[in-house]
Symmetry: C2
C-alpha cells in the first residue's frame, strides 16, 4: 500500500507499507549484494546510519550460499539480522552480463556461475522461487536488461518477452503463495519497465505491465550507457503511463544529483553501489561537493570530512586521521568512508522528503543539484 | 605506580596507574600497529570489547604518517580517538628485521623504509623523541631484538649495548621532559630484557637494567624461534631478578595457553597479533578450542561461534552467516571474526584476574590451558 502524503510538481513524498514496516519515500536503498554491506558495515551500522531498505542480489545469493541455505537459516532477515524491509533484485541484471546472446530463450537464460563455473538455467519461475526462499519484502520481476545501444528490433522483441515473463513471474508467485511455503508470506512483486532509450517501446511496455496492477513499478535498464539527458528524458516520457498510486523505482541510480533529478521527475525508490564504491576509494560526499581524502592537503587537517555532517565518522574523526588510514591501507578506512557516504545518501533522501513536505524542494534542487556533483 | 592486590603462587593481580587511567592486570593489550586495529575495528569497537590498553608501533608511525603529523593532530590519543592507555614499542623489533647486521653500530641502526625505500638512521634518542611526539603512556626502550638462535658472543655484546642504549633512552626522556615539549608529560619508560635463550645473559642483563629503577620491565626477544619450553624456562629463570614491585610485560606473546602459562610464571602484560590474524583467517577462539569457521559443517549452523561467549558477534550472528561472509570474501567477515577474537582475549584476561582474586587460578589453569589450544 502506497500513500502519497505530499507533493511538489511531480515530486512525491510517500509512505509504502511492507511486512517489515513502512518505508518513507523518496528512499535510497542500501546495497548489500551478498547479504552484507561492502566496507565491513554490519546490520547494526545500517540501523545507526538510518537505512530504511536493504537490497540484496538474487543471483549472488543463489550461487553462494544458495537460497535453501538462507531459507534454512530463517530467510534473509534472520540470516543477516536485519529486521527492516529488504528488496531483492531478480538476478536479471547480473545474469545477462554473464550470459551469451544465444543463451537467452523464451523459456529462460543459460549462464555460467562466476564463482564455480557451474552451468545454471534460470527461468522467471526460478527467480521467483529463489526470491521466495530468501524471503525479501519486495521481489523484482525477472527481466532482460538490454545493453544501450541495442538494435530497435532486438529491444522490441525483448520487451515483449519480458511482458510474457512477468505473467509467468506473477503466476509463480501466486502458486508459491498457495503452497504456503513462502518464508515471507507478505512478499510483493514489482514489475520492471524496459525498452532501452526507445521512447515508444518504453511507453508501450509500461502500458502493458501497468495492466498487471502490481504493488510497484521499476524503471530498469538505465545508467547502463546512455547519457544523463537520455535517462531523464526516458523518465519524463514514462511519467503519464506509470500508475500514480504505485511507487516508482529507478534501478541502479545514481549520483546525489541524479537522485534529486529523479525525484523531481516523480521517482520514489533508488539504489546504487556508488556511495559504497566511492567510499572504498576515499571519494567522500559533502554538501559542498566530493572530496578525495587521499589528497596531500588533508594530511594535518583537524576538521571532519564535512562540517555540516553529523554522522558517527564526522562526529569523531579528523580528515588527517582518515587520510592516514587510507594511505596505510587499513580496512578501517573503507569502513569509515563507506559509513560516511551511506549516511550522506540516507540524509540526502531525508532532506528531500522534508523539502517536499514543506514545498521547498524546487529551491532545494536549485541549491544542491550542481554543487553536489562538484569535485572539490 | 604498580600495586599487587592479590596473588596466587607467582601469579599476580595488580593495578598499574597511567596518565590515561588505571590498568587492571594481568592485561592483554590490543595491537593497533598503524594507529588502527586490523579488521576495520574502530576505537569505539575497542571500548565496547573491553580493551584496556592499545599498542601502536613506533616504526610504522614514523614512516607513515610521521610522528610530527601525529603530534600536530594532538598525539596518538586524539589522532585515533582513544582515551585509555596507549603503549608504543620502540621500533626495534621491526627495524632489526629490516636492517642488515653491518648496519647496527654503537650509535644506532641504519635501515630502509618498507614504504618508500627512504634510508633511515635511528638512535635510541630518536626512538624516544618519536614516542614522545606520539604521546603514548608507556614508551619502550630502544633495544636490539636478536634472532634465536644467535651465537653466544653476539648476544652478549648485543645485550651489553642494549644496556648502554637504555641509559641513553632514559637520559633523552629526561631531557625531553625538561624541555617541556612532551605531548604526554606523564609518559613512562619500560626497559626490555634480552639475551636470547642464554639464561646467564638474560639474568645478567636483567640485573643491569633493574638498576635503572624504571616503572616497568619487559621480556623481549621471545616467541621468535625458540621452543615453548625454552620460553617458559627463560621467564622462570628471570623471576627472582625482576623487580617484584614493577609490572612485567612478555612482548608479542601469545596463544591463550601461553598467556595462562605466562601469568602462572608472574607476567602481568601481554600483547599479540594472533587474535586479529587468526580472526582474519576465520580461526576463531572458543572456550572449547579453536574452530575454523570456513569448515563446510557450519554452513547451516544456527548457533553462535561460542555458546559461552557474550560478545556482540555471538549475541547476534550465526555460524552459518559468518561462514557465508568468509566464503564470499566480505570485509564484514574479518571485522566480526577479529571482534570476537579480541573480545575472547580480553575476556580471558578478565577471567584470569578473577581467578587470581579468588585464589582459583591453579584450577583455572588446569581446566583451560590445554583445552584452549585444541583445534576442534
Amino acid at each position: 500500500m502506497f500513500t502519497v502524503i505530499a507533493s511538489e510538481g511531480r515530486a512525491r513524498r510517500g509512505v509504502f507499507d511492507t511486512p517489515h514496516g513502512a518505508v518513507q519515500t523518496p528512499v535510497f536503498m542500501n546495497v548489500g549484494t551478498q547479504a552484507a554491506i561492502k566496507g565491513a558495515l554490519s546490520a547494526a551500522d545500517l540501523e545507526m546510519i538510518g537505512c530504511q531498505v536493504e537490497l540484496s542480489n538474487t543471483y549472488h545469493l543463489h550461487v553462494r550460499p544458495g537460497e535453501e541455505t538462507v531459507r534454512a537459516l530463517g530467510g534473509l532477515h534472520r540470516f543477516m539480522t536485519w529486521n527492516r524491509p529488504i528488496l531483492t533484485d531478480s538476478g536479471g541484471f547480473q545474469i545477462f552480463s554473464l550470459a551469451k546472446p544465444r543463451d537467452i530463450t523464451e523459456e529462460g537464460v543459460k549462464f555460467v556461475s562466476h564463482v564455480d563455473g557451474r552451468k545454471i538455467f534460470m527461468r522467471p519461475e526460478d527467480s521467483m522461487r529463489i526470491q521466495s526462499a530468501l524471503g525479501s519484502d519486495i521481489a523484482m520481476a525477472f527481466d532482460e536488461c538490454v545493453k544501450i545501444p541495442s538494435p530497435y528490433d532486438y529491444v522490441k522483441a525483448s520487451t515483449e518477452r519480458t511482458v510474457r515473463w512477468l505473467e509467468r513471474c506473477k503466476a509463480e508467485m501466486e502458486k508459491i503463495s498457495s503452497e504456503g511455503s513462502a518464508v515471507n508470506p507478505g512478499q510483493m512483486l514489482f514489475g520492471i519497465n524496459q525498452g532501452a532509450v526507445y521512447k515508444d517501446l518504453r511507453i508501450e511496455h509500461m502500458k502493458r505491465i501497468a495492466e498487471f496492477d502490481l504493488p510497484g513499478y521499476a524503471i530498469g535498464g538505465l545508467a547502463v550507457g546512455e547519457t544523463t539527458a537520455e535517462m531523464y528524458d526516458t523518465i519524463e516520457a514514462l511519467d503519464e503511463y506509470m500508475p500514480k498510486d504505485k511507487p516508482r523505482y529507478l534501478m541502479g541510480v545514481g549520483t546525489p544529483s541524479n537522485i534529486i533529478e529523479g525525484v523531481w521527475r516523480g521517482v520514489d525508490f533508488f539504489d546504487c553501489v556508488m556511495p559504497a564504491r566511492n567510499g572504498r576509494h576515499g571519494h567522500l560526499f559533502t554538501w559542498n561537493g566530493i572530496i578525495n581524502i587521499n589528497n596531500e592537503k588533508y594530511v594535518r587537517d583537524e576538521s571532519p570530512i564535512d562540517p555540516e555532517c553529523d554522522c558517527p565518522v564526522c562526529r569523531r574523526y579528523t580528515r588527517g586521521y582518515l587520510r592516514h588510514l587510507y594511505r596505510s591501507g587499513e580496512l578501517l578506512a573503507l569502513r569509515l568512508g563507506v559509513m560516511h557516504n551511506l549516511w550522506f545518501y540516507n540524509k540526502l533522501a531525508e532532506r528531500i522528503r522534508e523539502a517536499i513536505e514543506t514545498h521547498t524542494f524546487s529551491a532545494f534542487r536549485a541549491e544542491h543539484t550542481e554543487t553536489l556533483a562538484k569535485r572539490i
